[in-house]
């Protein structure tokens, strides 16, 4: 795994919000989100550098039993 990533663009945020999520946002709002998002997404990418290869996620699917 590596943490190399392409920085997010305001246009991408706006397009994803409008086309995929169905919650259109203005260009100005997309630009303001960019300031919050870029450092946060950079933080997320640092998780990919951890030794997680043999580690399963903390939440595991549990089949529903007859009594539930």
């Amino acid at each position: 795994m590596n943490s190399k990533r392409t920085p997010i663009r305001a246009e991408t945020i706006q397009a994803v919000a409008t086309e995929y999520i169905g919650q259109p946002i203005s260009a100005a709002r997309a630009r303001s989100y960019l300031n919050h998002m870029e450092p946060i997404w950079e933080m997320f990418s640092s998780l990919r550098d951890l030794p997680l290869r043999e580690v399963e996620p903390a939440i595991i699917f549990r089949p529903t039993t007859k009594n539930e």
Binding site: H36, I40, W41, F44, L47, L50, A58
Partner: protein
Amino acid sequence: MNDLHKLGAMQLGAAIGSGECSASEAVDACLRQIGRDNDKVNAFITVIAEEARANAQSVDAEIATEGQRGPLQGVPIAHKDLYYTEDVRTTAGSGVQEDFIPAFDATVVARLKDAGMIMLGKLNTHEFAYGPTNDTSHFGACRNPWNFDRVSGGSSGGSGASIGMRMLPAATGSDTGGSIRIPAACCGITGLKPTYGRIPRDGIFPLCWTMDHPGPMARSVEDIAALLQVMSGFNAKDASSSPLPVPDYQKLLNKEVSGLRIGIPHRHFFDQSEAEIDVLVHDALIEFEKMGARLIDVDIQYIERAAAAAMAIYLAESTAYHENQLEEDPALYSEQVRTFLELGNHVLAKDYIHAQRYRALLGQQLATLFAKVDILATPTLPIVAPKIGQSEVEIRGHAEGVFSALLRNTEPFNLAGVPALVVPCGLSKLMPVSLQLIGAAFDESRILAAGHAFQRVTDWHTKLPPYLREL
């Protein structure tokens, strides 16, 4: 009996049980204090005075004929406004739920009611618990009893401020990244985030299903143990509820501290705290040494990534929960919460999964440490309560966002799901400083015993805010 509102929960319960005072007198004393001082801290969103008085009369009648059935019967309490309360408005501190009246009680509310506790009302919270300051609430910022210009801390700010202001002896809170421990630390009271699954979550508005921990807030560890006893135990309505038996926490409270191995993780927790807080928490640890505990330096590997993992989970889970409402009424949310929810739309599934894998990795690190030490100790917060509206702090020459500073020492233990108790341990800049004690999963009794021992040899938990001292 004067000043009943200043007694702790167990003290008040004992006074009611012995006939020194009645539940009605206790409720009246607390309601008087709320009427006098709530406008100073804005802790209560809703007060149910008439219902509380009627319930107190019923309790008094029951005690007169059958005796007191438990140590908390007749003791006043209030609930964070995230907890469903039957026929009593439950707002989550948001315009979105301004008029919501639940048809049933959260399991925890029902259990405390069954124990005979008398609900006085509902307490302010950061909107939907999505922030650690409680200066974002549809009902206005919650203020700190020690300095009204500073935040109460959040998200359970009303719980912290009401107890700190001596309006009542006990309250419920919930803790997703530190939301019980942060206001407890800011307001100079005691709080416990138990092990994930120890207390059922059903009937409480979720922030993040996999990180939310309900828990008690009070003045002393003794009171916390009594509240935990009632709140704990399996409930099938919560998929994460633990079937493990509930120990007798009050019986285990006096366990000796001598020989206790306390791990001290300097990196991340102490070396990024304000210098005076570092010193005060070390002073507190010396008290444990005097009682025969051993202090052992430890390091928690990968701890510096906790904030990244926690953020991925906050954003993803909270946005999933709020998605429909956000689409229908975005303007009903505050700007800060709306921004967080909209950012959550862009979290990649793989980042969320990596965050959940990180939790397992962190859990392994802590489990390894808990084979070498019995508990861990850290400062609860690296700073004292910031000013209302303040967005940045400077710690040892480095500027940092208020949210990340407040959450840094607490959220790793939400990720790991292990229990953490916070107790007042000093004053810096005339504001409370707090010590955090962390235990292995389901080992609440050990941190409670350590915290209780600390409160037997210190009096920080009894200190009154300046405003109350001056009266």
